[in-house]
């Protein structure tokens, strides 16, 4: 039984992490056509925020709860800064944004190395997350359940923002037809900024979850960014529904391959599977006529 439960549960947790990382990417690509290669570094920024929070809030049990909104703000503001200073000048030039954001990512990574050192710093797991529960032979860590809850909360929050708030309406309008939305009085500039802030902030939350697995280190984001892009592409660009399904599928499939073969082989096979899948369905899991987000 545990031959099934281990990869299933561990894979769901990995999928949840990929989902939080991919949500922001899907959001900014869907709305603005921006391929943000610095997104992984926003994840890293979230992890370092968790570390810094633990230096200030020394009560470990509380510090993670403080770190979550703090990481959202820090990564969100970094994203906003990137949008205002660079991205805004090159909308609808996806290749340019891709190259520029690769550079920004390098810059942020080196900055983290210079400020915090290359080795990384520990983030301590709070007491209430430290432990496991035995599920069909797998000692399922509380931390993995927490990651899954976090991903679902992020998804629900984003869904609510898009569906029930006036900003959400404006985002959807901008995605569907930017010119028309502008004619109707929507400031697409401010909508873009909010989208970038929220998308980057979500990466910050993901960074806190990652920091509970591995602590911080300057290269932390690069591990996740490629898989997150894989999820966005496989799910169908600009499709939240597809992103969700693709994230959990990639997570679980990788975990099964890891269990049966090896970690390195699992990455290769998962990528190969997605490549084959995209041959058959170049548009990803779901097709949209208008680039609807919800």
């Amino acid at each position: 039984m545990d031959a099934l439960t281990t990869p299933l549960l561990a894979g769901t947790a990995t999928g949840a992490l990929l989902l939080i990382a991919a949500l922001g990417l899907a959001l900014t690509f869907g709305q603005m056509g921006v391929i943000n290669m610095a997104h992984g570094e926003f994840l890293m920024a979230g992890a370092y925020t968790a570390y810094l929070t633990q230096q200030v809030v020394t009560n470990t049990d509380l510090s993670i709860l403080v770190a979550l909104p703090a990481a959202f703000l820090v990564a969100g503001c970094l994203g906003l800064l990137l949008e205002v200073s660079i991205i805004a000048w090159m909308y609808r030039r996806p290749l340019d944004t891709l190259l520029v954001t690769v550079g920004v990512g390098l810059l942020l990574r080196q900055l983290a190395k210079d400020v915090f050192g290359a080795q990384g710093d520990p983030v301590h797991t709070p007491g209430w997350l430290d432990g496991n529960i035995l599920v069909f032979g797998y000692h399922w860590p509380y931390r993995q359940m927490f990651t899954i809850l976090l991903a679902l909360a992020a998804l629900a929050g984003l869904g609510a923002l898009l569906k029930y708030t006036s900003y959400g309406r404006r985002i959807r309008a901008t995605v569907q037809n930017r010119d028309l939305a502008e004619t109707m009085g929507v400031s697409t500039r401010s909508v873009d900024r909010v989208t970038f802030f929220v998308g980057s902030g979500l990466a910050g939350i993901g960074g806190v979850a990652v920091s509970l697995i591995s602590g911080t280190n300057p290269n932390l984001g690069t591990t996740y960014i490629i898989s997150a892009f894989l999820v966005v592409v496989a799910g169908g660009l600009g499709q939240l529904r597809g992103t969700v399904i693709a994230a959990f599928t990639v997570g679980i499939v990788t975990a099964f391959f890891t269990d049966w073969l090896s970690s390195s082989m699992a990455q290769v096979l998962t990528f190969a599977l997605v490549v084959v899948f995209l041959q058959a369905r170049p548009q990803g899991l779901f097709t949209v006529r208008t680039r609807g987000l919800a």
């Binding site: 545990d2 281990t6 990869p7 561990a10 947790a13 990995t14 190395k113 050192g117 290359a118 080795q119 990384g120 710093d121 520990p122 983030v123 301590h124 797991t125 430290d130 432990g131 496991n132 032979g137 797998y138 000692h139 860590p141 931390r143 993995q144 509970l212 697995i213 591995s214 602590g215 280190n217 290269n219 932390l220 690069t222 591990t223 975990a255 890891t258 269990d259 090896s262 970690s263 390195s264 990455q267």
Partner: protein, 406 residues
């Protein structure tokens, strides 16, 4: 990519040069000028990139050794003039920089390198130039060059003592966890063959890529296998993910303790978990009780601060500069060929204990130590080999070793 091509071109060009002046082995070092009051030595460590945090500690202890040697009169009466270069955590850069140090700066010897990839990149250059490289880190062995002195452990001084320790503890089952690159795979190949000889059963073997920190699936396999011990050849930050997953799934030193070959005094506090009671195999710990070590620690902390721990690669680097001094003084020359001719039996009272150079393979005899991590993140020595172990990089003296067998 460009860097690799450049290094390759440089290397090829060099071997061509070396070939054209065959027979004139002294031609290359004729550029080393020791007629003045100083001797130039190259310090080539990564002070940028992923390896910077580790290699900077080596750079610091090299600087300390140079300062001490200069204060006590230098080498053959000449003051050391360090020429420092950054290897930038990139093997191709190491190859370019050592070429620059040997033929441009005309240094008498180079000290540095950390990853095996960096050493492998420097090897053809230092051989073509007939230069000298002192390499301070434990590695996977199976190498010997007349132009390299290896002052870190080879496998029969770290991996094999660790296995002997496990045998002495009555260990019956062992799980191997490593990063997916050359050192862990070579180390595990040796471990598996020796384990078969010792009657220890390998109940699992898992690798995770260096940049991947999520070990939950692999640790679940350790939980299921219930090994007496876990042999850890994981490198760098990936250890943090491993250690966290290990404790998260209910493992502990009481159930399946871990023995590591890369967690030292600096790494232990950075794990994000209390790792008290886990083990590591090295040839030096800060806790080693010797007058030479007390002097070394005091000098190091006076220079760099009380909070800075000392570690095995730092000690090996510090020792390498003193060994070089002894080598030159015995040869009474800075000439590489004369140094090599004088090398066998040169020794130094190092912080780890007395070390002696083997003139055959250019490694040094070192004592194998096993330490258990205490609450201060220092290591209590719980086991030691019977005196220094002769270096045997190709494991010729071990009849269970068959390099062709997986």
């Amino acid at each position: 990519m460009t860097g690799t091509v450049l290094a390759l071109t440089a290397t090829l060009g060099l071997s061509a040069c070396g070939g054209s002046k065959s027979g004139e082995s002294s031609a290359a070092e004729s550029c080393v000028d020791t007629s003045g009051d100083t001797v130039k030595l190259g310090f080539l460590n990564s002070t940028s990139g992923a390896m910077a945090i580790s290699e900077q500690t080596v750079r610091d202890s090299l600087a300390l050794a140079a300062e001490e040697i200069n204060a006590s009169g230098g080498i053959l009466g000449k003051q050391i003039e360090p020429v420092v270069e950054d290897g930038a955590s990139d093997p191709a850069t190491f190859a370019e920089k050592i070429e620059k140090l040997l033929t441009g700066d005309c240094v008498a010897a180079v000290f540095g390198g950390w990853t095996s990839a960096s050493r492998k990149a420097m090897l053809p250059v230092v051989e073509a130039d007939n230069g000298l490289l002192f390499y301070p880190v434990q590695y996977e062995g199976l190498e010997a060059s007349k132009n390299i002195y290896y002052t870190g452990a080879t496998t029969n001084q770290q991996i094999i003592p660790a296995m002997d320790f496990l045998k002495s503890q009555g260990v019956k089952t062992l799980f191997l966890a490593g990063s997916d690159y050359v050192f862990p795979r070579t180390a595990n190949k040796i471990i598996k063959q020796y384990a078969a000889d010792l009657g220890i059963e390998i109940v699992g073997e898992e690798y995770v890529p260096l940049d991947d920190d999520d070990w939950t699936t692999q640790v679940a396999k350790i939980v299921a296998a219930k090994p007496d011990f876990v042999f850890n050849t994981i490198n760098g930050s990936s250890n943090v993910g491993f250690i966290k997953a290990y404790y998260e799934q209910g493992l502990s030193p009481a159930v399946s303790p871990i023995i590591s070959v890369s967690i030292a005094e600096e790494e232990a506090p950075a794990m994000g978990k209390d790792v008290t009671g886990q083990y590591a195999a090295w040839n030096y710990f800060q806790s080693v009780d010797s007058p030479a070590n007390a002097t070394f620690i005091k000098a190091f902390q006076d220079k760099y601060g009380k909070k800075r721990p000392t570690s095995d690669p730092m000690e090996a680097a510090y020792t390498s500069l003193y060994l070089y001094k002894s080598l030159v003084e015995k040869a009474d020359s800075f000439d590489v060929d004369k140094i090599n001719a004088a090398a066998d039996g040169v020794s130094f009272d190092a912080p780890e204990g007395t070390v002696t150079i083997d003139g055959e393979n250019h490694h040094i005899a070192k004592t194998g130590l096993i330490g258990r991590i205490n609450a201060d993140n220092q290591f209590d020595v719980v086991w030691s080999s019977d005196g220094p172990i002769e270096p045997d990089p190709f494991l010729k003296g071990y009849d269970w070793w068959d390099p062709s067998k997986e």
